[in-house]
């Protein structure tokens, strides 16, 4: 039975592959800037924002999608590790319509969780922008995002502030104690 079906398939073996079109269309022409974004000294627990500009150079409006992509190790910059979690990246919109011959900005936010283990790290992740298309060939453009976190966490700096206040209170206490002791001393 299976053989018959296969035979029928082979005899029938006529099928249209790839949306038939006799127009050899050019792809959606667009650009992304900046091509490289470098964020330095980002303390764990804080966030940084920047804008990606998508320039639709086509004569028609198009929808563009934005998504993070983890590049393979050999494509990352020297000393750059894999970005630990894509959920730390967010976009003002993951899909945006850009009018013909126009630009649109997408705000990207990088938020690092407040944990000591993320301090002093150098990561790389790519932000891919693609135009929605049903053509056989499509183009995706990546912006390289290089993120370096601060060596010190915010909590360390708070420790300094607390120490300063405690020392101040102790000194004020001592001063007050000696002042009142001298006042109650009989002349």
């Amino acid at each position: 039975m299976v053989g018959h079906i296969k035979l029928a398939g082979l005899i029938a073996a006529l099928l249209v592959i790839f949306l038939p079109s006799f127009i050899l269309a050019q792809d959606v022409s667009f650009s992304v800037s900046p091509a490289v974004v470098k964020i330095d000294n980002l303390p764990p627990g804080e966030a940084a924002e920047f804008e990606l500009t998508i320039h639709n150079k086509d004569e028609a409006a198009h929808n563009f999608t934005i998504a993070a992509f983890q590049p393979p190790e050999e494509e990352r910059g020297e000393g750059r590790a894999e970005f630990p979690d894509d959920s730390w990246l967010s976009f003002s919109s993951q899909e945006i319509e850009v009018a013909a011959n126009s630009e649109a900005n997408v705000t990207a936010t990088v938020a690092i969780p407040r944990e000591q283990k993320w301090a002093g790290e150098d990561w790389e992740v790519w932000l891919g922008v693609a135009a929605e298309s049903s053509d056989l060939l499509a183009v995706r453009l990546y912006a390289r995002l290089l993120v370096s976190t601060n060596h010190a966490m915010e909590s360390t700096s708070n420790a300094g502030l607390v120490t300063g206040i405690v020392v101040g209170i102790i000194l004020l206490g001592c001063g007050g104690y000696y002042y009142f002791r001298r006042r109650v001393k009989p002349e």
């Binding site: 249209v16 592959i17 470098k38 964020i39 990546y142 300063g164 001063g175």
Partner: protein, 187 residues
């Protein structure tokens, strides 16, 4: 009284000594560097390959075979490029029937192969004939590991062609479509 004033002053100084660096750290500068006005963009002069009806277990090449499509670097930065394919799906009901894209360019029942070849590249690929399988994992397009080529500069071009190897067996009379994505990142 003198002691009180002295101790208050000392206390304030000490608090400032400890807390100012701490406060300064809290407002530490997060540097975001957008590398110049770098804009990334590539274009393809063809995006469709209207094949029409195809037979099983048969190879189809674009015409001309290796100079069918031209990739041009349109932005103002050097780029590395990549290629990735996907399963072909039935246009009428994408969830109901598909051809799986093979991981090595070979075919099978409902499994098809896709290859690309860059003009002037005669020795690349598993058969050292210039043809390289397109898989569902993003691979190098140009330049590539082990090759002598370098990143494509603004205005630079690469011509390439495609080859399709249809499945040994497939369900006939169904219109299939797939997409090959060529991507670029700043070198």
């Amino acid at each position: 009284m003198k002691a009180v004033v002295t101790s208050i002053v000392v206390a304030i100084i000490l608090v400032l000594i400890f807390s100012l660096p701490a406060l300064a750290q809290e407002s530490g500068t997060i540097t975001i560097t957008m590398t110049g006005v770098n804009e990334i963009s590539i274009s393809l002069d063809k995006t469709q390959w209207p094949l029409g009806n195809v037979a099983s277990n048969t190879e189809y090449e674009t015409s001309p075979p290796i100079e069918w499509c031209t990739l041009t670097v349109e932005g103002n930065c050097n780029v590395n490029t990549f290629i990735v394919g996907e399963d072909a799906t039935w246009v009428d009901d994408p969830g109901a029937y598909k051809w799986t894209l093979s991981s090595d360019g070979t075919n099978g029942d409902h499994i098809y192969g896709l290859w690309f070849r860059i003009s002037g590249d005669n020795t690349r690929g598993p058969h050292s004939d210039g043809y390289v399988p397109i898989t569902k994992t993003q691979d190098e397009f140009w330049p590539y590991s082990g090759g002598s080529g370098s990143s494509l500069a603004p205005g630079g071009t690469k011509q390439f062609g495609l080859k399709l190897l249809t499945p040994n067996y497939f369900v006939g009379s169904r219109q299939m479509q797939t997409q090959i994505t060529i991507s670029a990142v700043a070198a």
